[in-house]
Amino acid sequence: MKKAWRIVLILTLSVLALGGICFALSLILGADLVRISDAVFARYDLAQTILNVQNLIFKIKTIF
């Protein structure tokens, strides 16, 4: 189990480091969150998806 934990931690830390490097690089290169959200919302109707999830939760609550 200790060996498995070590492997998991090494994997996690390496992926975290890679993600952090990517994120920092994107900030340096001038990434814009508003531009990203516009692009995502243009392709996916996330507002409708959120509404659907809320409806589903409401229906489940009415059952119980």
């Binding site: 996690t12 952090g20 990517c22 994120f23 994107s26 290169l29 990434a31 531009r35 990203i36």
Partner: protein
């Protein structure tokens, strides 16, 4: 022609016998094996008719069983008298290790009387009855007929001072249940252990769901980078964010597995073990208390 053929067959049979015996005696130490094989080689050398000896000895497997039964690895060199004896095959009862047979001195043996039939098998008895024993040198010390007395002999004679053998043939004792403790244990299990187990299982499930959720969000975030985003910096940001979120999900999911295996299953095992100890009592423990 016939004689030479017979001689050839005898030699081959002897060689095969010794080789097979050497293989079967691989459980012995090297020195003991060598001495045993030397003993049988001597026997073959001294025997007039080797075919007859082979017939009397039987299969190498049988001889190996005879040798290995009651075999105790010796650190000291074996006495010379022991090397000329055939191992006792029939005296040892099942499950007990019989001590080495005490060699009887030749001087006490009455002339013309056969050796006891219980020592060796019938074929060997016949062979050794017919074959004269080699004369032992006079300066060689004759072994004491009863140098050590086995504890089993004393026990059979009913000697109270003789310690009993360590091997206990009695059936294993059944643990005795204690009714009051079983009722208490059942109540404790229903009231406390089952809810605790359920909480631990739910905790591990929640952690698993959290880890899986984080992993899915990370993968989804990375997938968004392919959703028509044209700026490289934005793609890098989505990939970086997805990797960070997904990386957080991996240890959480593994923590869920750990919580389930170590805490939940460990708690159940602990309760079961403790209950088995607490609710059942062995007679030995009772006698100690």
């Amino acid at each position: 022609m016939t004689i030479s053929m017979n001689w050839e067959e005898t030699v081959i049979g002897r060689q095969k016998f010794i080789a097979e015996l050497a293989k079967l005696l691989s459980g012995m130490t090297a020195r003991d094996r060598e001495s045993t094989l030397a003993k049988y080689n001597d026997m073959f050398d001294k025997a007039g008719n080797e075919e007859e000896l082979l017939t009397n000895l039987g299969s190498p497997t049988r001889v190996a069983i005879c040798e290995l039964r009651g075999y105790i690895p010796s650190e000291e060199p074996e006495p010379e008298s022991a090397s000329s004896e055939i191992p006792d095959c029939q005296a040892a009862p099942d499950g007990l290790i019989e001590p080495e047979p005490t060699p009887e001195p030749l001087s006490e043996e009455p002339a013309g009387e056969s050796p006891p039939a219980t020592d060796v098998s019938d074929g060997l008895v016949e062979y050794f009855r017919d074959t004269p024993r080699p004369a032992e040198p006079e300066d060689e010390p004759v072994p004491d007929p009863a140098p050590e007395e086995s504890p089993r002999d004393g026990a059979e004679d009913g000697d109270p001072d003789t310690p009993e053998p360590a091997f206990d043939r009695s059936a294993p004792e059944k643990p005795r249940p204690i009714a009051g403790r079983i009722i208490l244990y059942a109540a404790f299990g229903i009231l406390v252990c089952i809810p605790v187990t359920a909480v631990l299982a739910a905790l591990s499930l929640c952690l698993l769901a959290l880890g899986a959720g984080l992993l899915s969000i990370g993968i989804f975030t990375v997938s968004l980078s392919f959703a028509g985003i044209s700026v490289f910096a934005d793609i890098m940001m989505l990939i970086g964010a997805g990797l960070v979120i997904g990386a957080l999900g991996v240890p959480v999911a593994f923590l869920a597995v750990w919580v389930f295996l170590r805490l939940t299953v460990g708690f159940v095992n602990l309760i079961l073990r403790t209950g088995a100890k607490w609710c059942y009592e062995n007679e030995k423990e009772e006698s100690q208390t």
